[in-house]
Amino acid sequence: MSSPVQTFTPQQFHRQAHEALENPQIRANFRKAMDGLIGKRREAFDDWELETLRELGANIRLRALSRLPDLLERLEANCEANGIRVHWAEDGDDACRLITRICERHQARSVIKGKSMVTEEMHLNEHLGRAGIEALESDLGEYLVQLNEQTPSHIIMPAIHLNTDEISTILHERTGTEQTRDVDAMTAAARAQLRERFMAADVGISGVNFAVAETGTLCLVENEGNGRMTTTAPPVHIAVTGIEKVVEHLADVPALYALLTRSATGQHVTTYFNMITSPRKAGEHDGPQEVHLVLVDNGRSRIYQDDELLDTLRCIRCGACMNHCPVYTRVGGHTYGTTYPGPIGSILMPHLMGLEATKDLPSASSLCGACGEVCPVKIPIPDLLVRLRREAVGEGKGNVPGAGAKRSRKELAAWKGWQWLATHPGAWRGAAGVAGKFRAMAPSHLGPWTEYRTAPRPAKTSLHALIKRRRQEGDS
């Protein structure tokens, strides 16, 4: 039985987390998948000078970001010179309208899509659907998620929340594929179904992994060949990307590509690496007649204004942070209720949706640092989570929409009380003494803590008092 259609929102993080934690299937699917990905990444980097490569990757991204306005203009000029038409979109709706207009100009009824998270971000499929244009996902994971009327639960592996049996059922119920546990047979069936649609599609829409400013080249990393089909079979190709994906030189790509595939799936190279530099030229036998590039801002230039938050834009969307996140591993991607889940989602989505809607995301981390440790471009994710917590409680710079959304008088009063005590050493020692004296009366129920653990009991004698006694007694 396929799962019923569910809607997830970041406002419901706690409820969704509760439901995911209670669901043994979700728990097992994610744990198994994440353990596998962690292992593959470790093996892939085994003989690499990982730290040197990460440093290189971080610097390439930092350099690109430091010249972002200039690089975007160069990208536009070089793409246009190559025959790629460049469009700018201020937000998701703007981008959707632009893309719909291009489709309508070609009387498109059917769109085939390669994997693209930025189009998920703007809910492009629904938008196209309202204009009477059917958009079909061609990445296998995306295809399954679309068939199941869900959203991706991982940015690299959209259907990672589903296991073989669930996938078999979805394919059976939605496409009439014979029920089987044979993964190859299922893949072959999906491939045959998609193949027809590639040939019939009026427009192909893809994402972009790296947009190279100096050459006007769009790089697309993929494993299934669906990206190449999407960008070559239909007469029109529309590439959609966030403005931060630009890099300066073609020579910047190999290092980022090496980091991306190893960090994401542990692959040394992907099966396909596409470099798109122009539409079909005179005398060429294939390729689209038109190529468009839609550069989407959608909150990014606001992030760009803040020296610290800017680091969020380094991301190359490998998903390693979620693979290694102990929270994501347990609650899964849908729990976050956002396009990008896990650590990167928790530092990115507040900018896209505002802190009012996403205020529980930055706190949904133990700050264990696993995300920052594996990030191929060294985004200081834990520091950015703390920064967003600051913004949420209204003690930041106010550079995030909805700053102060989590401000609570009660909580502030509690911290002010703590501050007073911790800045009055005499009172602090007194409090420790009182706590020790009345330790038998210490609460044995401390809210949710004691549903799973015993309550910590204050020591009879504090360290302060033990040391004082020791000094008096001259004990060793």
């Binding site: 703390v386 003690e395 911790a422 549903e451 799973y452």
Partner: protein
């Protein structure tokens, strides 16, 4: 994390910053840390006015409150002696975050100066004291949970195990997914109790399944969390701070 830390020669004296959790809940761990240092011939200075490093407020986003509390600690270490902290979490806070917490304030230089003198206890015992241990205890299978702050923020995944490896009668067993967080995370355990509980449940089980008779941590937050979970499940397995374990087995 990736920068190379230069260690000083063994000093005559050190400051000891006991941390608020140890002060209130695990004072013996603090005392045992002091004993280990004193046994090395180092005089340990314990400033009486110390309270808390400020981390709970810092990670919760209350940086004004955290700064005020951290500021109250800065004057406690006037001499150039190293500051020893028996916790990777508080040590990490002081060493890696004090500089930026005070950035642009009149106290910035002092904060950076204090931060540069902070060492986690096991780090100091290994890299500065070159501690040699002689095990007096019974044979035991031991698991160690290195806190995430010690492991990642301070880059000290090896120092605890290096000390334990010197105990001849102790077999160090490694739990599955040893580097994964136990789910404490300070206020995280309060704000997201169910997720935190799922994490500590797995951690406690992994330590048990590794066949450990006992476990140690370098952070009392993790100890309170993992130990509290095992006690809640009425398990035999108990844990303690690594300083207490080292002192008990070698004294």
């Amino acid at each position: 994390m990736s920068s190379i830390k230069l260690y000083p020669a063994r000093p005559e004296k050190v400051y000891f910053f006991g941390t608020c959790l140890i002060d209130m809940f695990f004072p013996e761990a603090g005392l045992d840390g002091i004993r280990l240092l004193e046994r090395e011939g180092i005089e340990v200075l314990y400033p009486d006015d110390q309270t808390c490093c400020g981390q709970p407020a810092y990670t919760s986003g209350y940086h004004d409150e955290a700064r005020s509390v951290a500021e109250a600690q800065l004057d406690l270490f006037p001499e150039p002696w190293p500051i020893i902290v028996p916790s990777g979490s508080c040590g990490g806070m002081m060493r890696t975050h004090y500089g930026q917490l005070f950035a642009g304030t009149a106290r910035e230089d002092q904060a950076r100066q204090v931060a540069s003198r902070v060492f986690e206890l096991t780090e100091f015992l290994v890299h500065v004291c070159h501690l040699k241990l002689s095990d007096q205890g019974e044979p035991q299978k031991l698991a160690m949970h290195t806190s995430c702050s010690a492991r990642r923020e301070m880059g000290l995944a090896e120092t605890g195990p290096a000390l334990l490896a010197q105990l001849g009668q102790v077999e160090l067993v490694e739990q599955a997914r040893a580097s994964e967080c136990c789910g404490f995370g300070g206020t995280f355990a309060v704000r997201h109790p169910e997720v935190s509980a799922a994490m500590v449940e797995d951690k406690a089980r992994a330590i048990e399944e590794a066949g450990a008779d006992h476990f140690v941590t370098s952070d009392c937050g993790c100890l309170m969390n993992i130990g509290g979970r095992l006690e809640h499940q009425k398990r035999e397995l108990k844990g303690e701070h690594i300083a207490s374990y080292l002192w008990r087995r070698t004294s």
